[in-house]
């Protein structure tokens, strides 16, 4: 059955290619640091399940150590003029190739669910992404007639633009596990429920909505905040004490958390990574573009809970 192990193997091979090409990249002043960083990530992808917990932890320490001293950055050989000439030569074929990954993702999501023996049903998305990538690479190499190494050299260039931010989402997910083991959520939940004035339904609704957003901003993830806030305020006060509709309280409460996700650097894969990927000079530029949408939407969500939960 095709599942995560095969996807991790492919990811490991691609990171290994980035490591080798980084080591050979003379335009990067810190090429060995980059090579070591991507090599460690390749090792984690390929061998993580055999290393054991402590060794995986030491691997993370090494990754952080390298990143803290700074990664370097290589450049592309192709000039803007060359790329414009390429664009004119290939025309709209480029768009068809760009559509291969999303189309395979679409087809995979629709088809693989019907083939539970072939593809692990829980991993349909990642398997489709991996298959889409392989298919697009194959078609690209044949159709555009490029050297086999070119995609990996250009991929390495993009990877350098992202840099250490590439593993930040995975680091934050791991931090969530440590916070859970240390009991951080329980204490936050106690604080939140203690902060609500008694006998005010409105105050409870507002505290629940704001609490979801604020705790999501701290944890970077509405999934971590939801059980805490729902157990601290949502269920005991809004549902049991005031008779609110649990479906509304849960569903719109989660969406209050999503408003928090838009406003925090902790939600790295949505906020920090795109800033790096688009090579923006301000790491928080995407967060800043989102706050003016997130705040009014948070107010709307709190009002929706107020009007819809207590019909």
């Amino acid at each position: 059955m095709i599942g995560l192990p095969q996807v991790y193997l492919l990811a490991g091979l691609i990171f290994a290619a980035f490591a080798v090409l980084s080591a050979r990249d003379a335009s990067n002043p810190r090429r060995l640091a980059n090579a070591a960083f991507w090599a460690l990530l390749a090792l984690s992808m390929v061998a993580g399940d055999w290393l054991g917990d402590v060794a995986n932890g030491l691997l993370v320490l090494a990754l952080v150590g390298i990143a803290a001293f700074g990664l370097g950055r290589g450049t592309s050989e192709a000039s803007v003029g060359e790329r414009a000439a390429e664009a004119a030569r290939h025309g709209n074929r480029l768009f068809f190739l760009a559509l291969v990954i999303p189309l395979v993702a679409l087809a995979g999501t629709l088809c693989f669910n019907a083939l539970p023996d072939l593809v692990d049903p829980k991993q349909v998305t990642l398997v489709s992404l991996a298959l889409g990538t392989l298919l697009a690479l194959t078609i690209g190499l044949a159709w555009l007639r490029v050297r086999a190494l070119e995609p990996f050299e250009e991929g390495r260039r993009l990877m350098d633009a992202v840099g250490w931010a590439a593993v930040l989402p995975q680091m934050l997910a791991s931090l969530g596990a440590v916070f859970a083991a240390a009991g951080v959520g329980d204490i936050v939940g106690q604080f939140a429920s203690a902060a609500i004035p008694a006998d005010s339904r409105l105050a409870a609704v507002i505290a629940y909505g704001l609490g979801m957003a604020a705790f999501t901003m701290v944890m970077g993830n509405a999934f971590a905040a939801f059980p805490v806030m729902a157990a601290g305020i949502g269920l005991p006060i809004l549902v049991h004490q005031y008779g609110g509709d649990p479906a509304v309280v849960a569903a719109i409460g989660m969406l209050c958390g999503f408003c928090g996700t838009l406003m925090t650097p902790m939600a790295a894969n949505f906020n920090i990574v795109p800033a790096a990927l688009l090579e923006l000079s301000d790491r928080n530029a995407v967060v800043k573009a989102q706050v003016p949408t997130a705040l009014p939407l948070l107010a709307v969500n709190i009002a929706l809970i107020w009007f819809l939960a207590f019909r």
Partner: protein, 215 residues
């Protein structure tokens, strides 16, 4: 109480603009140690969670394809196509993308777009081509708005789909507390917020364009 030191480390570290990877590791150590674990145990918990979260970093496998397309001129082509369209404006482009992203996410198709797959190679260059920014600062704001539009479309579309992670999490949490609900009865309540998100964000896109032209 002391276990909250990890949160303090996170906030302080981000404000001091230290390397975020270092901040995250220090926050984990601070929280774990103040909860009475020994350092090796904290490292082991972190290492185990890091290994179990590898799926988060798999998205980077698309970079060789995106890199190949960029080297062969995809961004230039995207700019050229949009510049050749009559009536293509920044608000129309971004609002159209917002609607596409919300609708496709509501059908469960969350991975057919994203920052690496569509925003960097297609949406951001198209947004720049329609906006014709006057300087680098304005170009960066246009690109950041394109990235923001992708996030907002995804977040406030996906919860309408019944089999998405957050719906299953809510269903599971409520079931543990003795409340049985169908995923559908949860997902319908995401629709009012989805409409509000579309109205608020498309209004903001228009305001952004209006302020740019007034200057």
């Amino acid at each position: 109480m002391l276990v909250l030191s990890g949160i303090a480390v996170m906030i302080g570290g981000f404000m001091l603009r230290l390397n975020p990877l270092l901040v995250v590791l220090c926050a984990a150590l601070a929280s774990g140690l103040s909860a009475g674990m020994d350092p090796v145990a904290v490292i082991a918990i972190f290492g185990k969670a890091f290994n179990n979260s590898r799926y988060v970093s798999v998205v980077w496998i698309v970079l060789p394809v995106i890199g190949l397309l960029e080297r062969r001129g995809l961004q230039e082509r995207a700019r050229g196509v949009i510049a050749g369209m009559k009536g293509a404006t920044l608000p129309r482009l971004l609002t159209g993308y917002l609607l596409f992203r919300q609708l496709s996410a509501a059908l469960g198709l969350v991975s057919i777009a994203g920052h690496a797959q569509t925003v960097r190679p297609l949406l951001a260059p198209m947004a720049e081509a329609t906006a014709e920014p006057r300087d680098e600062a304005e170009a960066e704001r246009v690109k950041a708005l394109a990235a923001a539009t992708d996030n907002i479309g995804l977040f406030f579309g996906e919860d309408i789909f019944i089999a998405i992670g957050s719906i299953l999490l809510m269903k599971g949490f409520l079931a543990q507390n003795g409340i049985e609900l169908s995923p559908f009865s949860l997902s319908v309540w995401a629709i009012p917020t989805a409409v509000a998100a579309f109205l608020i964000h498309s209004l903001r896109i228009r305001l952004f364009e209006w302020r740019r032209h007034r200057k």
